[in-house]
Amino acid sequence: MKKKRGFFAKLNEQKWSFLFIAPAVLLFVIFVLGPLVASLYWSFTEYNGITAPKWVGLANYKNIFFNDPRFWTSIRNTVFYTVGIIPAGVILSLLLAMAIDQRIRFKNFFMVIYFIPSVTSVIALSVIWKWLFAGEKYGLINYFLISIGLKPIDWLMSPIWTLPAIIIMSIWAGIGYNMILFLAGLQTIPTSVYEAADIDGANTWEKFCNITLPLLKPTMVFVVIMGFIASFQVFERIYIMTESEFGIGGVLDSALTVVAYLYDMGFRKLQMGYASALGYIIFMVIFVITLINLRFIKAKVDY
């Protein structure tokens, strides 16, 4: 009895706390946790979104892994996309950050310019780049190729060039964002370290290899891991640049990424159980990448 009163007294004391977190927690349970459990259930069913789901056990997962060439195409494309943008994107944005970190004029002007694509919607960027890549001749990029003596490319209509085109756009769009992260990392390196190296007679290259790179490692790891996660989830630019009456993903599925495939299965082919299973596979992959990320961040503390 006494204990019970204590509990209620405590509850009264804590009612403000619960009141304060209630909106956030309720929204979380309804719109994150609930759907998460529901999609796990649906991933074991055959479900078209209209009639009742039919339990099929592990059949969706088995089919995805063992008899679905489109899934493997989408994995291959996603890996190709990721490998295509991360090294070039990281190197370019690091170079930019180091250039801006020097004592130069118009520092702020450059930062603003490079950051602009990061505040533009990917949809707008994609329609602009679709237009840049367009046409045999009148597209700006093909005109450039012709004027330097190369042959024009039918970028978004060719199974070979669609994904590279999207990669080029993505590198362009992402460098400013990563530049800001690298710049923040560079500013944590004390100038005294460089001064000490100057006194020891180190040249620029030695300073870069022995000071900048090692001290920038945490930022580098962060940028690369975030890049992995984001490019594994790439969808919007694929949707805009490859949408046609035949669906999304480009000619012969040449730019079908994993999330584009999920969207296609779920919302065009209405195989929602199957698409839920795809969602969980994406979840698992990103979960593993995040765990690796956490391992790295822990490692950084004790070097």
Binding site: W16, L27, F110, F115, I123, A124, W131, A230
Partner: protein, 285 residues
């Protein structure tokens, strides 16, 4: 002396290379935007003329005129503003409220609940795409503002950000207010809120940006014409009039310009916000 001179020359050369690199980079960033704008004021016969030209011989507002005639673009601008602003205000309020409780209150299950919330940051949104759609349909919210606003009114990342910031506020301040007889909500309003303004500004800007540019969720829960937000409208425009580039570029200008103005006005906050949070999901890579 000779040595010093060559050293000086070397420095000038390095500076030159750096400026050249930065200028070429800046020009390559700018060209697509300039091209978007130039195309949007070209008459039809100039759009696909060869060679392509940045100089418009007969500038015209016809593409914009067509755009306004073909789709209710002002309605879409309003939808985007309304949804982004509401979500932003809701996040600033709910996240700071919850962040305060998680940072300064002691209550049953506090750390466990927070841990679960934090863990959910690892969940990619795709996994809830199907079930989120079904839930919205069950609630009868398809094609409504509710569908766009309610699910994202209290983002976990915002709660985390606020909690981290509020934890740095000394307990003494909160305790002193308690001794003065302030209610919990008064403490939140008069002690905590004024002190966390910088982080709320960051949260507001990043939330607004994310909502303004959000595409996939509206794509799934909105299919009536008048409820579209700008990115969705632009994608439909691209699907229907994909070959009439001047009109699509006019749409891109309308969709891009408002955010560009906000960015130029608050650039410092944007870039500091990204540097501070390194926000997942905002990366364009």
């Amino acid at each position: 002396m000779e040595n010093l001179k060559s050293k000086h020359f070397q420095n000038v050369a390095i500076k030159g290379v750096i400026y050249a690199f930065l200028f070429i980079g800046a020009i390559s960033i700018a060209i697509p935007y300039v091209w978007m704008f130039v195309t949007s004021i070209k008459p039809v016969e100039e759009v696909q003329s060869y060679p392509p030209s940045f100089i418009v011989k007969h500038p015209t507002l016809l593409p914009y005129h067509d755009l306004f005639r073909l789709i209710p673009i002002l309605r879409y601008v309003w939808n985007s503003i309304y949804v982004s602003a509401t979500v932003t205000i809701a996040n600033v309020f709910f996240c700071s409220l919850a962040g305060y409780a998680f940072a300064k209150h002691r209550f049953w299950g506090r750390d466990k609940i927070f841990f679960v919330l934090l863990g959910s940051l690892m969940i990619p949104w795709q996994v809830n795409l199907i079930s989120g759609f079904i839930l919205i349909r069950k609630l009868g919210w398809l094609n409504s503002y509710n569908a766009l606003i309610v699910p994202v009114m209290a983002g976990v990342f915002g709660i985390f950000l606020c909690r981290q910031f509020i934890m740095a506020i000394p307990d003494d301040l909160v305790d002193a207010a308690k001794i003065d007889g302030c209610s919990e909500f008064t403490i939140y309003r008069l002690v905590i809120l004024p002190l966390i303004k910088p982080v709320l500004a960051t949260l507001a800007i990043l939330t607004f940006l994310q909502q303004w540019n959000n595409f996939i969720w509206p794509l799934i829960v909105i299919n009536s014409s008048e409820m579209r937000t700008l990115p969705l409208a632009l994608s439909v425009l691209n699907g229907q009039f994909g070959t009439r580039f001047a009109i699509v570029m006019a749409g891109a200008v309308v969709a891009t310009t408002p955010m560009l103005i906000v960015f130029l006005a608050f650039q410092k906050y944007f870039m500091e916000g990204v540097a501070m949070t390194g926000l997942k999901g905002y990366s364009k890579m």
